[in-house]
Structure formats: structure tokens, C-alpha cells
């Protein structure tokens, strides 16, 4: 198989198609840019800034009257914009080995640069081309508080232990801990069983602790009404997102995984308000229009695939086109479909804490392989998937845990699977030829399977 995929007329090659990406998601890009630009000025505006990692606790931070900086999101943004280098070099000069989670070392690199801007007191080996203020990586406002709320991954939790130390152990710091949804008991499963109930209550109690901590640190009374209001908007936006996702059961699909990747930032950390609802309403409306007008994401959808693993932020556009070139529509993925307020029915708008705790537990990397298979294989069935593409994310063991087991379970159901190597925010681990060869081999196998 080559990049020139088919002849439209005998003897005439057609140019490889690009993914026909949704236009409505561009508005999300603007919302997100505005959000960061505003955050960069937080200190000038006298705002209290919380640095946090992990779950989407932003509605709690919003209701506590503070501004929030999601470390991973900033790391992802830098990688997606190909601006991660200065932060990663700073991390390397500080002593991080490149096999360490690239999200953590990118964001810790930002912390080092932020700290350097503020105090010029960071010990690093000779750092080539230390960026000045204009470099995005050094523009985060220094934190006033830290909150860690990382589910699933021990590195995610330990990362803020280090952020806390980079800032000389002087700042208040709160941690939310989560049990892995492991399933010791026979009744355990996705959204069910005693372990799920106990874990939900355990996390909810910690969220109350977090609220007390924020009240104590800021001197602000927590705005419960504000929390209910933002969760009302978030729930509505999440419902619209799920409805839009489900429209992609259609063949050919009107939107693909890469469109949903573009919508992660808004649902992950933007404020819960009408603008968020409007954004997802517009995305859904565009998909409905496409369905009505017979517009598909790929001109020649031939294969329907699922994508498993955390995103490869350096390569989103590249990958979108790579799959499109092969007429392969990536229709669903663990990172987009099993994450980010994806069970909105759990949210009680009047008393949202428990439902929030449950979503935090439902981080797509906080499941045993058994739990994971329950969700991913169900989605494969729902969306009529022919094969699963696994992103073997070199420095994110949380995303790769269970992948090989999941692949075996999928194969047992007659599905094709392939792995390619890459990373969440370190381009050097991506091997294009591996992806190309394995993708072609998998698609050929699907053809053979269909021919039988």
C-alpha cells in the first residue's frame, strides 16, 4: 500500500486525502489561547494562582476564587505547538533523564524557568540558549498553592512533590489520592461493585478536605452556588459532547478521533460557563450538518479504527493525515471517549461532589486491564471498529499499562491490533517508519479478513 491510495480513473492516481477536520473546533483553540493569555497576567491582576495536576478539579478552584494552571495541559500545549524544547532542556540541565515521563519533565522544566524568572536561583548545568521572557515555556505565573489530584499514575502524584521542592517547600500543598480501580472482588467492574462505591466516597471526602484547605489558604468563603452553576454548564457541555461522539457511529463517520483531541482542552480545564456549552453545541451542530449533507471526515473511509493510549502531542496533525492517507478513520479512542466528564449522568447538579469524585476516579489510566477492556471493547463494538492502534507511549507507563493484555483480548474477539512507538511530549521517541509499516500490515490483514 502506498500513500497514493487509489486510482479515481484507471491509470490516474489520486492525491492522498487529508483529514477533513471539523471547523467548529477552531473556536476551542481561541478559547484555550485566551484562557492561557489571561492566566499569564494573573500575578499582575493580583490573583491567587494554583498549580495543579491530574483530574479536572478546576470547577472547585473556580468556586474557591482562584486561578488555575493545569501543568499537564500546559506541557501538552507546548508540545502541540512544538515549543517544548526550552522546558525540556531546562529539565535536562536540572538532571532529568529522558526516560522520565515527558509531561512531568516538560512541566517541571517550565517550573524551573518560571522560578528562574522570579528569583534567578536555580541550579542547572550550563543551559544552552536559556530562553527569555518571550518564550512561552517561561511565562507561567508562579504558583501560590499546589494541588495534586492525579489518579492512576504514581508519577503524576510524585511530580508535584518535586514541584513543591523546586519552589523551596514554602508553598501550601494539598493532595487528593485515589485507589486504582483494580477489582479484587468478583462484583467489581466498570461503575459497579463495592470497591467502586467505597472509592467514590473516599475521594469525595477528600474533595471536601480540599475545599476546606482552599478556604483556609485564600480566606475566601467557598462559593457552593458557583460550583453548582459551573457543574450545570459542564454537565450540559459533556452531554453535548457525548451526543456528538455518538453521531459518529454513522458510516462514513462525520468526525474522527483527531477532532475530539482538539476538544480535550476545553472540556478539561476551561471554566464551566455558557461559552463552554456553546462550543460543544457548535461541534455537535456541525456534525449534524455533515450527516445531513453527506459530508464525511475522510473522502474514502475504508477502515474504522480505535486509538488507544495517551495522545502524542507533537504529532496530532501528522497522525491525522497519516491515517487519512490510508483511508483509515480513527473513530474512537480511550483518551477521548473514556475520559473528561464522559458519564455526565453521574453528576447531581445540586450536590455535585460525589459525581465529580467519580469522574476523577474514571481517569482512563486508573483502571485494571479487565476494566479497561470492558470499556474499550464495548466502544469498538458500538463504533464498528476493525482494528485498534496502540500508541506505546515510551515515557507514560500509566497509559501503556494493560495495553498488551487489551490487545490480546481484542484479538480473541477477531479484531486486528497494532502498536507504534511514540511519546506524549518527546518527539524523539516517535518512529514514523514503524507506524507506516505496521499500519499498512494491519490494514492489509483487515482486507484479507474481509475477503474471506
Amino acid at each position: 500500500m502506498s500513500v497514493i491510495t487509489e486510482a479515481t480513473k484507471p491509470g490516474q492516481a489520486r492525491t492522498a486525502p487529508n483529514a477533513n477536520r471539523l471547523v467548529s473546533t477552531r473556536a476551542g483553540g481561541k478559547l484555550v489561547k485566551d484562557y492561557w493569555d489571561n492566566l499569564f497576567t494573573a500575578r499582575d491582576r493580583g490573583a491567587t494562582v494554583v498549580w495543579y495536576n491530574g483530574a479536572a478539579i478546576n470547577p472547585i478552584l473556580q468556586a474557591a476564587g482562584v486561578e488555575w494552571c493545569h501543568g499537564e495541559a500546559f506541557g501538552a500545549r507546548l508540545a502541540a505547538m512544538h515549543l517544548e524544547q526550552p522546558a525540556q532542556l531546562a529539565g535536562e540541565a536540572y538532571g532529568y533523564i529522558n526516560e522520565l515521563c515527558s509531561y512531568a519533565r516538560t512541566t517541571l522544566g517550565c517550573a524551573l524557568l518560571t522560578k528562574q524568572e522570579a528569583t534567578a536561583k536555580i541550579e542547572m548545568d550550563g543551559l544552552p540558549g536559556v530562553p527569555d521572557k518571550e518564550v512561552l515555556a517561561s511565562r507561567l505565573p508562579p504558583p501560590d498553592l499546589f494541588v495534586n489530584a492525579y489518579a492512576g499514575c504514581s508519577t503524576g502524584q510524585q511530580w508535584d512533590e518535586v514541584s513543591y521542592r523546586v519552589f523551596d517547600k514554602e508553598l501550601p500543598f494539598f493532595k487528593v489520592s485515589y485507589p486504582l480501580l483494580w477489582g479484587n472482588r468478583p462484583d467489581a467492574g466498570y461503575l459497579r461493585g463495592e470497591e467502586w462505591d467505597n472509592a467514590s466516597k473516599f475521594v469525595a471526602s477528600q474533595l471536601h478536605g480540599l475545599i476546606e484547605f482552599l478556604e483556609h489558604q485564600t480566606g475566601n468563603r467557598f462559593d457552593w452556588e458557583g460550583l453548582r452553576e459551573s457543574m450545570h454548564y459542564i454537565k450540559r457541555a459533556a452531554q453535548l459532547r457525548i451526543e456528538a461522539l455518538e453521531l459518529c457511529k454513522a458510516r462514513p463517520t462525520p468526525a474522527v478521533f483527531w477532532d475530539w483531541v482538539a476538544s480535550i482542552a476545553p472540556i478539561n480545564f476551561l471554566p464551566g460557563n455558557q461559552a463552554l456549552v456553546d462550543y460543544f453545541a457548535a461541534v455537535k451542530a456541525e456534525i449534524e450538518d455533515r450527516l445531513r449533507d453527506g459530508v464525511s471526515s475522510l473522502p474514502n473511509e475504508r477502515y474504522r479504527l480505535a486509538f488507544d493510549g495517551i495522545m502524542n502531542w507533537n504529532k496530532v496533525g501528522w497522525l491525522a493525515n497519516k491515517f487519512a492517507e490510508h483511508d483509515a478513520a480513527v473513530v474512537c479512542g480511550r483518551y477521548t471517549h473514556n475520559s473528561f466528564w464522559h458519564e455526565p449522568q453521574l453528576i447531581d447538579e445540586d450536590d455535585p461532589i460525589l459525581g465529580m469524585a467519580q469522574h476523577y476516579l474514571l481517569c482512563p489510566f486508573n483502571h485494571s486491564a479487565r476494566n479497561l477492556a470492558e470499556q474499550v471493547l464495548r466502544d469498538c463494538e458500538t463504533y464498528g471498529i476493525d482494528g485498534i492502534v496502540f500508541h506505546a507511549t515510551r515515557t507514560c507507563r500509566s497509559a501503556t499499562n494493560g495495553q498488551l493484555l487489551l490487545a490480546k483480548m481484542a484479538q480473541a474477539r477477531g479484531m486486528q491490533t497494532m502498536f507504534f512507538e511514540g511519546d506524549v511530549a518527546d518527539e524523539s521517541f516517535y518512529k514514523d517508519e514503524v507506524l507506516q509499516n505496521r499500519l499498512e500490515a494491519m490494514l492489509e490483514t483487515i482486507d484479507v479478513q474481509r475477503g474471506r
Binding site: 522520565l100 493532595k175 483494580w182
Partner: protein
């Protein structure tokens, strides 16, 4: 002479057991007709298994090359987790009646999930202890997990585990740890010439053997050590740091010591970290084991835990002062996230204190010992002749 032959003989016997814990466990099982329970590093309280009448065996990395395990766990996981999964995939865990763990390391959890997948008949139980030590919610959560472990192990072994049984086991393990600490103390004070390979054998065998049997042997050994002191030969005193969950290869330790080094102390897991902390006295054994979890991290801080109030680097600098070690070899198991993440904090403190150190990344597949030797020699040379080393560094 005769005493030193006796000492070497005892250690050689323990080394055989440490090298093949599965064989020892089968023998124990046949003799005692009890259950053998695999437990996983680094915070599992073996007392609770012992109190159920079973043999707790702290699972070790084995030397075999990774084969079938490759299809269950990616290659970019630490050697310990890859070996564990490979042992499961190649039938080496057949003699174990269950696998229990409490620790939250992302790689370890992935590996144990793979073992569970591969061996669906084997009871595999996670009683996850929250890793953040600062929040008031953690202590009761850990207590609940220990109570759940007690229940589950009781079911597995067909017994009801009494408070008295746990107290008895706590006392047995405290005794064993105390004896091992005595050996450490003699080593720090330069009273015994015990190489790191031998020290590792003492710890590793204590991780896999029946505690009473091990204590009996150790008692004899400590008496011999005390009666016949020996002066170590190496001139430069070093501390070995890090290496979580599994033992660094003995060949590596031999190589380090062959460079004119005496290793006087360590904080590696298959070393002082494992035996540093006793379970405190108290009427409620579950509470005592809970306290032990917290005390371990205060005594010898570990970057797999999240605790604002303790620092591994502070501990390291202090213990160097105590042992008189002149430098540190930091042993990082390749792909060990918690260690890679924390290493710069250690580095910063060592730089601040002017303590020379060397980082060595270890791999399951083996080590380029000759190349590493040159780096160890450079460290040793820098310690012996600091002015020359400084001049060279400035040049």
C-alpha cells in the same frame, strides 16, 4: 581463619537460598504443609502473612533473559517488573499460592495486572496503601487495607488471624531486623570486612526465608562477627543509594569494591531500607503495622511516597556523616520513574554539600562493567586526590 571459613560457609548457604527462593519455598511447603505467599515490594508487612501461618516470600528479580513476558509488558518497564511478568509467563510462579501487594508504583501495578491476566487461577490481591503521607485521610485508609489483608489472607490460609498471632510475628520480624541492623552497625564502624555481595545475601535471604530459621542463622553469624572483627581493606568509603524493589547485580557490587572501595552503608531496598524500621509496640497490631508504614518513610525516606515533611536527600547527607562515607554511588534501575523523578533533588543536595557522586543506571539485560569501572575509578580518584580532580574539572 577457621572462623572466617565458618562465616563464609554460612553466607554461602544463605546465598544459595537467595539465588533460588522458589526452591526454598517448595522445600518449606513440603516440610511445613503451609501456604507460600508472594509479596511485592516495598511496603508490604510480611508479618501479616506470617501470622496466617504462611511463608511470605518477597518476590525477587531473577537472572533469566526476558522471553514470553515481552508479550505482556512493554520493554520500557524496569527490570524488576519485566522479570516478574516473565517469571509468571514461564511457569516459575507455580509454587505460589497467591500474590499480594500494597504499593502504588505505576509500573508495578501494570506488571501485577499482567501476572493476574497470565495466571487467572492465582489469587492476586491489591490492598493499595495511599502514597501520600500528609493527608489525615491516609492513616485510616491504610488501617482499613491492613484489616482487609488480614481478612483475605485468613481466607486463603483457612485460619482466623488473631491479634496474638500478629504480635508474635511482629516480634519475630523485629528480632530479625534488629540483628541485620547490628551487622550494618559493625560495617559502618569498620569492625567487619563484609562485602556488598555478602551483605546483599543476608538481606535477600531474610526476604525469602522463614523468619525464625533466618534469625537462628543470623544469631550465630552476628556472634562470630562480634567475636572476630576484621578490618576492611578498601581505602575509599562509599555509600550505595537507591535501587528500589530489587537487588543490584552482585557483579556490579564486586566491580565497585574492586576499585579500592569499601561500601560502608547504603539505602538500597535490598539493603538498609528494608530493615531500617521496626514495627512499634502497641496493643493493636493493625495500628502498629499502620504506624510502621509511616515510620519507614520517616526513617529512610523514599521517593515512591509523597510526604512534604521528609527528604531523602537530607537523610542521605546525614547518614554519610554518620558512616563517614566519602562519596555516593547512586544506582538507578533503568525506567524507574520515582527514582528518575527525584534524582535531581539528591544531586542538588550532594552538590551543595560537596559530596562526590556517580550515577549508574542498571538494566535487567546486563551491564557494561568495564565502562562503568572507568567511571567508578574516576570517582575514587577524585575522592583520593580532590585537589587534582578539582583542577581537572576547572581546566
Amino acid at each position: 581463619m577457621e572462623q572466617s571459613a565458618t562465616i563464609n560457609g554460612i553466607i554461602a548457604d544463605l546465598a544459595q537460598i537467595a539465588a533460588d527462593p522458589g526452591r526454598y519455598a517448595s522445600g518449606w511447603k513440603a516440610r511445613r504443609e503451609g501456604r507460600v505467599v508472594g509479596i511485592l515490594p516495598m511496603n508490604f508487612p510480611p508479618e501479616i502473612v506470617h501470622a496466617a501461618g504462611a511463608l511470605p516470600v518477597l518476590m525477587q528479580e531473577d537472572d533469566a533473559a526476558i522471553t514470553y513476558g515481552r508479550s505482556l509488558l512493554h520493554e520500557f518497564y524496569c527490570g524488576y517488573t519485566r522479570s516478574l511478568v516473565d517469571q509468571a509467563a514461564t511457569g516459575k510462579l507455580a509454587g505460589y499460592d497467591g500474590l499480594f501487594l500494597v504499593d502504588h508504583c505505576v509500573a508495578l501495578l501494570g506488571a501485577v495486572d499482567a501476572v493476574r491476566f497470565e495466571l487467572p487461577e492465582m489469587p492476586v490481591y491489591l490492598a493499595q496503601f495511599m502514597a501520600s503521607m500528609d493527608e489525615p485521610t491516609t492513616r485510616p485508609q491504610v488501617g482499613e487495607q491492613i484489616a482487609a489483608l488480614r481478612q483475605r489472607l485468613g481466607e486463603l490460609c483457612g485460619v482466623s488471624i488473631s491479634d496474638a498471632a500478629i504480635q508474635h510475628s511482629i516480634a519475630a520480624y523485629n528480632r530479625n531486623r534488629g540483628l541485620l541492623r547490628k551487622v550494618y552497625d559493625l560495617r559502618r564502624r569498620g569492625r567487619i570486612a563484609l562485602g556488598s555481595r555478602q551483605m546483599q545475601v543476608l538481606i535477600k535471604s531474610s526476604m525469602v526465608m522463614d523468619v525464625e530459621e533466618h534469625t537462628a542463622i543470623l544469631t550465630k553469624l552476628v556472634a562470630l562477627f562480634e567475636a572476630y572483627p576484621q578490618v576492611p581493606e578498601g581505602q575509599v568509603r562509599l555509600h550505595l543509594s537507591g535501587h528500589f524493589c530489587h537487588a543490584p547485580r552482585p557483579e556490579l557490587l564486586d566491580m565497585i569494591e574492586s576499585c579500592g572501595v569499601t561500601v560502608v552503608d547504603d539505602d538500597v531496598f535490598t539493603g538498609y531500607r528494608y530493615i531500617a524500621t521496626d514495627v512499634p509496640d502497641g496493643p493493636d497490631p493493625v495500628e502498629a503495622l499502620t504506624q510502621w508504614y509511616f515510620d519507614r518513610n520517616s526513617n529512610v525516606p523514599c521517593s515512591t511516597r509523597a510526604q512534604k515533611t521528609v527528604d531523602w536527600e537530607g537523610y542521605l547527607v546525614d547518614s554519610l556523616k554518620g558512616s563517614g562515607a566519602q562519596g555516593v554511588v547512586v544506582l538507578i534501575a533503568k525506567f524507574c520513574e520515582p527514582h528518575m523523578l527525584y534524582y535531581p533533588e539528591l544531586r542538588k543536595a550532594l552538590h551543595r554539600e560537596g559530596i562526590p557522586h556517580l550515577v549508574v543506571e542498571t538494566e535487567h539485560e546486563g551491564l557494561a562493567l568495564e565502562m562503568l569501572k572507568t567511571r567508578v575509578e574516576a570517582l575514587v580518584e577524585g575522592i583520593r586526590r580532590p585537589r587534582i580532580a578539582t583542577a581537572q574539572a576547572l581546566a
